[in-house]
Amino acid sequence: MDKDKKGFFSKLKEGLSKTKKNLTDQIGNIVFKHKKINDEFLEELEEILITSDMGVETTMNIIDYIKDEAKKRKLEDTAEIKDVIKEYLVNMLQENDNEEDYKDKQRVILVVGVNGVGKTTSIGKIAYRLKQSGNSVIVAAADTFRAAAVEQLKDWCEKADVDIVASEQGSDPGAVVFDAIQSAKARKADVLICDTAGRLHNKKNLMNELSKIFKILDKEFSEAKIDVYLVIDATTGQNGIIQAKLFSETCGINGLILTKLDGTAKGGIAFPIVNVLKIPIKYVGVGEKIDDLQDFNPVDFVNAIFE
């Protein structure tokens, strides 16, 4: 029985390593196959890019860019293409990353996103990081809607050893945020992180609620630097662009957190979001442990896609 099982699993793993095959292998393959840049090569490249969720438009932009550059630089060899694509993607991501200096101010991070993208988990990790680097942190449990969301956040805060302001399920999230602001002021906390309930961006009522929360922060804590981070699941497809757009309209997103990058999803949707909406990526989530959150680094990210 045990033997059978092993056979089954090793077979499975074999199959899986196939699916794990990443872009570099694939591009390597077509580079090897075609040698010269031709239509067939470009079509296969298009497939690779689209299957990373970059979307039709961004993919076409890249393909056009490659064609132009190939002409300009007189490239014929497909092997040189990889660097051209990398360069293009890194540029795209770097363009929009202009970190402001706000060392002297108190800071608020409002974390928003659709359901199930990993907001609460990301907050646990951010709180832990900031605490580790010597900040005093307060977390506001403003997801008063989802069952046991407050308990989940409490658990994280305990692990991160930071304070939490919470009320019971079903209470007004605006009131929780208001209380948290008061306590951040009183205790002179360096950072206040606000969790919010997951909401689909096309639900007007819930988006209005979010706008109210944002207004409370803006009004009651105007002396602080307010960051609004949108959490995007790396498995998200083209809907991510609409998500980012509508959340931006509601509460002015100025940073992205890309989660679940430890799966097979490439998180390619981040490219059109960064490109179209000019919002930089701040963090990437790569696991379920408290230290599985990394600062976003465009070069590393692009390299990882091609590794």
Partner: protein
């Protein structure tokens, strides 16, 4: 953001109007648009290619029906193919008539397993079953608590053994517990996991071996992109899943992942999870999903919503009144309240084809406050006034405005709209259209703003 496929095709193929047959060239042009549309809907690249080839074969030489333009004909063929692929398989759940039936829910983190488990429990309970929810997510903080809260809200017991017992043991104990307590369906909520996490995937296999579930359901987020295909493939390799529940369908993602999954693992879609309330679990309709993937709106869902919300008896009465041209403000108020039952208006508008993709209309905000004003105004009238609004003159208008906390202008506006509606109804009923069911009311109802 996404243009409706039929609009796009209409433009590309507009020159072909009046042609009797689709030529290869026409189809190539059309298929380019279809391909883009499917990719924008997150259908997997490989699946798109396969699909396009199939459709192309079918479309070649197809006659353009008299009532259709070539563009519409292509959409029709594409639409039919989509329905064919997605509609295969049994969409109902396998329930044993004797003994315990066991369902197992699995999926990635944040797919909506726990919420869907609660919804399914509620549905089964409504069908006269006695379900038991089993908490097997021992990893995520407060996951057990979440299931307990969900269980409580649908009044279904939750079996748990804390977060220190291995899930395999929990499910075995849960079955014993169910037998002892007379539960006939055991619903296992497992922890979210990545499909490449071998250790956790093995755990699922062990759970499967321990209880031999009648249904193994993969929960898939409707927003999932190209990776859906790998997720489904892997879960299926490990577990041989029996079906899929698509979640977060109340978002505006077009859900092309469903098509990819159908193509790759060939398992039926059993349910759609469409909201955060516990009764928002819908049966899967391939034709609606096909329209959605093509960005063509979801008229049928609106009609169904309308049928749910409109009280049939009231509607029949209203219909009588309409025929007798005896429609007063009381009826108007009743109708308004039924409209409100259908849910936020802008959500309904989103589902209407042409609006979802229409840039101008997309920004249209329906002010639900208007409803509140209208209600307040009508409620501030005396019964006599409501039954016979023509008696409402100057001083009555002032009184109603004061009573409802609005202004005379608002009262005037409402009365004017009512008048217009009456005129419309007059025209309508003289045409002799007796519509069926609750929709009779809808047909004549014009938004009062």
């Amino acid at each position: 953001m996404f243009e409706n496929l039929s609009d796009k095709l209409q433009n590309t193929l507009s020159k072909l109007r009046g042609k009797g047959k689709l030529t290869e060239k026409d189809i190539d042009v059309a298929m380019k648009e279809v391909k883009m549309s499917l990719l924008e809907a997150d259908v997997n690249y490989k699946v798109v290619k396969l699909f396009i080839n199939n459709v192309k074969e079918r479309a070649l030489g197809a006659k353009v029906m008299e009532s259709l333009t070539p563009g519409q004909q292509v959409v029709k063929i594409v639409h039919e193919e989509l329905i064919k692929i997605m509609g295969q398989g049994e969409s109902s759940l396998k329930i044993n008539s004797n003994g315990i039936t066991c369902f197992m829910m699995c999926g990635l983190q944040g797919a909506g397993k726990t919420t869907a488990a609660g919804k399914l429990a509620k549905k089964l309970k409504k069908d006269g079953k006695s379900p038991l929810l089993v908490a097997c997510d021992i990893y995520r903080p407060a996951a057990i608590k979440q299931l307990q809260v969900v269980g409580e809200s649908v009044d279904v017991p939750v079996f748990e053994m804390g977060d220190k017992t291995p899930p395999v043991k929990i499910v075995k104990e849960a079955i014993k517990h169910a037998m002892k307590n007379g539960n006939d369906i055991v619903l296992i909520d497992t922890a979210g996991r990545l499909h490449i996490d071998d250790q956790l995937m093995d755990e699922l296999v062990q759970i499967k071996q321990a209880v031999n579930p009648d249904e193994i359901l993969l929960l898939l987020d409707a927003m999932t992109g190209q990776d859906a295909i790998k997720v489904a493939e892997t879960f299926n390799q490990y577990l041989d899943i029996t079906g899929v529940i698509l979640t977060k369908v109340d978002g505006d993602a077009r859900g092309g992942a469903v098509l990819s999954i159908r193509n790759v693992v060939d398992r039926p879609i059993k349910f759609l999870s469409v909201g955060e309330k516990m009764d928002q679990l819908e049966t899967f309709h391939p034709n609606r999903m096909a329209s959605r993937i093509l960005g063509m709106g979801d008229v049928l869902s609106i009609i169904e919503k309308a049928q749910d919300a409109f009280d049939e008896k009231q509607a029949i009465e209203l219909q009588k009144k309409l025929k007798a041209q005896d429609f007063n403000l009381e009826d108007f108020l009743a109708q308004l309240q039924q409209m409100k039952n259908m849910g936020p208006l802008d959500e309904l508008l989103e589902m209407i084809p042409g609006i979802g993709g229409n840039k101008k209309l997309k920004g249209l905000k329906v002010d639900e406050k208007e409803f509140v004003y209208i209600e307040a105004i009508i409620q501030s009238m005396t019964k006599k006034e409501r039954l016979n609004p023509s008696i409402i003159k100057g001083s009555r208008r002032k009184r109603i405005a004061a009573g409802s906390g609005t202004s005379v202008q608002k009262v005037n506006q409402l009365l004017k709209q009512y008048d217009e509606m009456r005129k419309m109804i007059k025209k309508f009923s003289s045409m002799g259209t007796g519509k069926k069911k609750g929709l009779g009311g809808m047909g004549s109802f014009r938004m009062p703003f």
